[in-house]
């Protein structure tokens, strides 16, 4: 799979991912944001597959679109913010500032990418080179798994702890308890006494 079709598919995926992510950050209602985010994740999964990361593309869909976004949607349902209770978004100035920063980050990164000798060396071919025959299993689940367990065993194990921490944390925090009768930590309002 090479040639113009690849370029076209990539172009479409890229453009729609950018568009949907832009919509994610601009929609007032989080529901729409979440939906566009799912779209965006799908596009990214497509890009992964284009890059011969087939397994990862599926994982992307499963984990992000399947798990994380469901979580988001659940939370949105749980909170169920009505339109009028949505936080009032910032005005023009704030947005301009944020956009400025984002734009500047983008331009600096672009500047860096375009000026990087390494990138230009790597991109000399003008496109992503095809994989040779020997590496046709690249991105396939078997090779991926082998490498994961042989070369990145430690990381994999630590990741399990990471997930465990995430679970414990989420459970502890989200578990409903009776609100404490006394409000703790009121010290910051009590800066009455000046010392020294």
């Amino acid at each position: 799979m090479s040639g113009w079709l690849e370029h076209l598919i990539f172009g479409i995926l890229a453009a729609s991912s950018v568009a949907s992510s832009f919509l994610v950050v601009t929609r007032r209602n989080p529901i729409y944001s979440a939906l566009f985010l799912i779209v965006m994740f799908g596009m990214v999964a497509g890009i992964f597959m284009l890059l011969d990361a087939t397994f990862l593309g599926f994982m992307q869909l499963l984990v992000y679109a399947g798990a994380i976004m469901v979580l988001y949607l659940f939370v949105i349902m749980l909170i169920n913010p009505r339109d009028d209770s949505l936080p009032e978004e910032g005005g023009f100035t704030e947005k301009t500032f944020a956009a400025g920063v984002a734009l500047l980050v983008f331009s600096l990164l672009t500047f860096g990418i375009s000026n990087s000798e390494t990138v230009s060396t790597l991109a000399e071919a003008g496109t992503i080179p095809d994989l040779p025959e020997v590496a046709q299993t690249h991105g396939a689940i078997e090779a991926f798994g082998y490498e994961l367990f042989h070369k990145h065993l430690l990381v994999f194990e630590v990741a399990s702890i990471l997930i465990l921490v995430g679970i414990i944390g989420a459970v502890h925090i989200a578990m409903k308890t009776k609100p404490a009768p006394v409000e703790l930590g009121s010290n910051d309002e009590e800066r009455l006494v000046k010392d020294v």
Partner: protein, 106 residues
Amino acid sequence: MFSLPVILYLSALLFSIGIYGVLARRNILVVLMSLELMLNAVNIALVGFGRVHALSTPSGEHSGQIFTLMVLAVAAAEAAIGLSLLLLIWRRWKTIDLRELCRLSG
């Protein structure tokens, strides 16, 4: 068009959009989503790089992908914690406005 620089530009663009979302929005939910956006942007770069280096990489041909997988795991855990914190905030503060969390200052 389908080349490493373009992939990197795309990644940078998505990253910047994520930054914009984090900086510009007050709705905590959207901020969290923007953070996911940022991570995804990085993923694209990682996979792209991994693909380019698939044959030469000393750390294994899938190193980029494995890194991405770890990012996925982190993103999942982070989302879990983030959303539970959001719930907590909602319970305690009855708001999802980022700006109202400003009792602690100075």
